[in-house]
């Protein structure tokens, strides 16, 4: 498949939408190539290369909106899709919150390589298999994927905003289970995304540490009884809980429905003053960021929570227009949690009774922030010491309360390329064994 001119495609799409009757129009295009090596059940099993294109066309007829997505970009396909988008918009209902971003001259961005180094990918993956077998002989690599994704994405709208971004990034994810005799650990997984293969894969994210833990988790038992205790969220787990915050308190759905318990808390304290959460798509620490948002704005770094106070919801343009609250200038991704001043070892020493939560398997939190689930790959902590791995242990609490009760944030952090997370210590969580 030959190189294509992405910005030419989005410009043609916007012109087609306007010619078909759109009052306002926007188009996005992405063309991606993936080159991927897979490990299944401990052996390298698949070499996969894919190409795909996606062209999105959105029409506004008055305040009515319709969207079509296709993976063709010839003139006939674009004209047909534009006509369909107009028909869909005319079928819809008017909503004054529908709009497109203001004019902005074309900006071009580029990060990473354009082509994968297939030989280096193979060598790094082979090295990882050899390392895993030698260092953790009881650990099975259930599925691992090393991927190089490269491509171009473009955006044009009828106000004159335009962006073009090229990127090439390596991503690695590893999922593993340990087994001793017939006793098996829970599976665990981690991964990261980086611009190069300079670092061995075992050192990406928290993979090496989680594999070490997995090897000692084949024999587990529940915590004793039920109690309210402390909880140390690991970096892998913290990312999941910050996603819960986004879904329950900050995002478009929670805000538009009015269900967000923080809907009137902008600028006010919502969590512990120890916590600062930034959204840094432009880095400098984030390698796998992005340059513009899906609704056509330049992505700008911003604080979401600063020293415990709510600085931004994660609203897009529609959500902002709908609620009258400010749009999130970053788009809400590439989350960086600022490091604290407490060493992880000291954090553990501060726990009287609780757990180190390494993976949370739970239901989606309720609209009021209540959560409950199973503590996976986790440890019981008592009197300042990590005692043993646990199984069949459930936890329950409330997301806002959990982050309001944060007592310490670690000075150590894990860089996943697309996010940077520390460990955090909180309390007041219900913990129960069988």
């Amino acid at each position: 498949m030959s190189e294509i001119n992405g910005i030419d495609i989005t410009r043609r799409a916007v012109e087609a939408l306007k010619a078909a009757g759109a009052d306002k129009a926007q188009s996005s295009m992405s063309r991606g190539e993936q080159s991927e090596l897979n490990i299944d059940a401990g052996t390298m099993s698949l070499y996969r290369t894919t190409v795909n294109v996606s062209v999105g066309l959105t029409a506004l007829v008055g305040d009515r909106k319709g969207t079509i997505s296709i993976n063709r970009y010839d003139d006939d396909a674009i004209k047909a899709a534009a006509a369909d988008a107009i028909a869909m918009a005319r079928s819809s209902e008017p909503d004054p919150a529908n709009d497109i971003s203001p004019a902005r001259p074309l900006e071009r961005f580029e990060r990473g390589s354009r082509e994968p180094d297939s030989a280096a990918m193979y060598d790094r993956l082979r090295e990882f298999i050899d390392y895993a077998r030698a260092t953790f002989p009881t650990t099975n690599l259930e599925q691992c994927v090393l991927d190089f994704g490269s491509g171009t994405s473009c955006y044009t709208n009828s106000n004159g905003a335009e962006f073009e971004e090229r990127s090439g990034l390596y991503s690695f994810s590893a999922m593993f289970t340990s087994k001793q005799g017939t006793a098996a650990s829970s599976f665990n997984y981690s991964g990261a995304t980086h611009l190069s293969l300079d670092t061995p894969l075992r050192d990406w994210g928290s993979i090496k540490e989680l594999m070490r833990q997995s090897a000692e988790q084949t024999t587990v038992r529940p915590v004793d009884g039920a109690f309210e205790g402390d909880i140390i969220l690991t970096p892998d787990c913290l990312g999941d809980f910050l996603n819960f915050i986004d879904g329950v308190y900050l995002g478009d759905y929670a805000m538009i429905t009015g269900n967000s318990p923080w809907k009137d808390k902008l600028g006010k304290p919502v969590v512990s003053p120890l916590l600062t959460v930034r959204s840094d798509p432009n880095g400098p620490e984030i390698e796998a960021g992005y340059s513009y948002t899906g609704d056509g704005f330049r992505a700008e770094n911003c604080d979401i929570i600063k020293r415990g106070a709510l600085e931004h919801f994660t609203l897009g343009l529609y959500g902002s227009n709908k609620t009258g609250k400010p749009r999130c200038p970053s788009g809400g991704g590439a989350i960086v949690v600022e490091a604290g001043e407490t060493a992880l070892a000291d954090m553990v020493r501060d726990v009287k009774r609780g757990i180190l939560l390494a993976r949370f398997s739970g239901g989606s939190p309720s609209d009021n922030g209540d959560f409950s689930g199973v503590a996976k790959n986790s440890y019981v902590v008592e009197d300042g010491r990590i005692l043993r791995p646990i199984g069949e242990t459930m936890i329950a609490g409330n997301i806002a309360s959990l982050f309001q009760s944060v007592r310490a944030i670690s000075s150590e952090r894990v860089n996943y390329g697309s996010a940077i997370m520390p460990w955090i210590l909180s309390g007041g969580v219900s913990i129960s064994g069988k």
Binding site: T49, N259, M394
Partner: protein
């Protein structure tokens, strides 16, 4: 549309290979508090090839469907297999073969609705919620339709075409209870294009009434007490139990990756009341929610009886895992998009009905719970499972009591299933969700109500 032209490209296969043309078409319409917040259609079309050499696979795909692109994608798949085989390959015996030759187009024969007609249908549902339940603090109604159309040929002679549609309508309602939002949702629909699944919005109004009534009870509900309890899981929960807790544990790739099921074949893993089957396309005389006649490796799909009267009897296989275990492939290899390789996936996984009456099962619970609706679920290599529960009731002295707020239940499936003491004499299917495992895929889950003992989350 069946792509007959791909057959001639089978001549390019120099090793075992598969060639698949696929189009996924979607419709998504969403109303939030009466506003149309989603109004979109999409189509993703392309071709993929996969080749097997010395125990490793090469895969390639492109959205271009002209002859040159198809030749190129076959060549690239062969090259990829050779690249990996030269470094990691070990000569193996041939893959098992049971080529499927099937054609099933389940698209509607009725006139298709326009986008406006679809929006009007959803607005009628939304309007009913708003008019009849003015106390709601928010409401959302969304329609999600997916047509998956595949044409497949393989080197061992499979020749298949299928168009399998699914249409799902989800309604979510929220009320304010003492300053806190309490929500509940329900999913309607299933196999078929919209016109074959839904006719009159008024048909759904009684279901909305039940949903609203359950939400009102839930808003006055209590938190569950943490610990191990006797419970009755209604069919929705039994279905997700079959899928998450057992199904994932006995997918052969998971078994090879370290699942506890590796050591459990032909042993007792459940009460003799439990028989669990992953159906290919037809169950108990009816077409399943996600029927499959030929899988994406070209294998004629057959039912896999996973647990027979409490004894583990089979895993779910693709060709390579069947070769490894020396058994027949079951036809469980499925891919979501044209750009995806087939993985071992469930199709329609269900616990079979028993002989008990639900009312008797409930009256036998002295102090426990009756759980009706799940949100999400996850499984583990240990067979430990977790389900979110969004609707249920306390049961005391055999009587239904207070509704409960959202909670989570868990257990070790191979232990918990041994505690099953009753299985109801009816069953129902659900197919509203997607199963995630590297790729997403629609699946069907079914079951009767079961009485068992498991861990319930809650506040200490």
């Amino acid at each position: 549309m069946r792509h007959e032209n791909i057959k001639r490209h089978a001549a390019l296969f120099t090793d075992y290979a598969e060639l698949r043309v696929q189009e996924n078409r979607t419709i998504r319409i969403s109303l939030l508090n009466g506003d149309v917040v989603g109004n979109a259609r999409s189509a993703q079309t392309g071709v993929s090839a996969r080749s097997f050499k010395d125990g490793v696979w090469g895969f390639a795909s492109t959205p271009e469907l002209d002859d040159g692109s198809i030749r190129s994608v076959v060549g690239r798949a062969l090259d990829n297999a050779h690249f990996l085989a030269a470094r990691e390959g070990t000569p193996r015996g041939p893959l098992p073969s049971r080529p499927g030759r099937s054609a099933h187009d389940l698209s509607t024969k009725k006139p298709r609705h326009s986008q406006k007609e679809l929006i009007d249908f959803i607005r009628a549902i939304d309007g009913y919620c708003a008019t009849h339940y003015p106390g709601l603090s928010s409401r959302s109604v969304s329609l999600s339709c997916l047509d998956m159309e595949k044409t497949l040929v393989t080197a061992d002679g499979a020749d298949a075409h299928s168009l399998v549609p699914r249409s799902i309508l989800a309604v979510s309602l929220t009320v304010d209870a003492d300053g806190e939002p309490v929500d509940l949702y329900e999913v309607y629909g299933g196999l078929g294009q919209f016109e074959d699944v839904f006719s009159d919005p008024a048909d759904l109004f009684p279901n909305i009434d039940i949903l609203a009534d359950n939400l009102a009870r839930k808003s006055r509900g209590v938190y569950t007490r943490p610990g191990t309890h006797d419970v009755v899981l209604d069919s929705d929960l039994a279905g997700i139990l079959a899928h998450e807790a057992i199904g994932h544990t006995v997918e052969a790739d998971g078994v090879l990756g370290g699942s506890v099921a590796a050591d459990a074949m032909d042993t007792v893993v459940a009460s003799p009341l439990v028989t669990l089957v992953d159906f290919a396309n037809t169950a108990l005389g009816h077409m399943c929610p996600v029927p499959l006649w030929t899988d994406d490796e070209g294998v004629e799909a057959r039912d896999a009886v996973l647990i027979d009267k409490g004894v583990l009897r089979s895993y779910m296989h693709n060709k390579d895992s069947a070769r490894h275990f020396g058994v027949e492939p079951t036809g469980n290899a499925r891919a979501y998009g044209f750009y995806d390789e087939p993985l071992i996936r469930m199709r329609n996984t269900a616990i079979l009905p028993g002989t008990s009456k639900l009312s008797d099962m409930l009256s036998s619970i002295d102090d426990g719970y009756y759980f009706l609706r799940s949100s999400n679920g996850q499984a583990d290599s240990t067979s430990e499972f977790m389900f979110g529960v969004v609707m249920g009731f306390e049961v005391r002295g055999g009587k239904i009591g207070d509704a409960i707020r959202d909670t989570t239940i868990s257990g070790i499936a191979f232990d918990m299933l041994k505690t099953v003491t009753a299985v109801s004499n009816d069953m129902s299917w659900s197919c509203g969700g997607m199963c995630g495992k590297k790729q997403m895929i629609p699946v069907g889950m079914g079951g009767p109500a079961i009485r068992c003992r498991l861990n319930v989350g809650g506040r200490a």
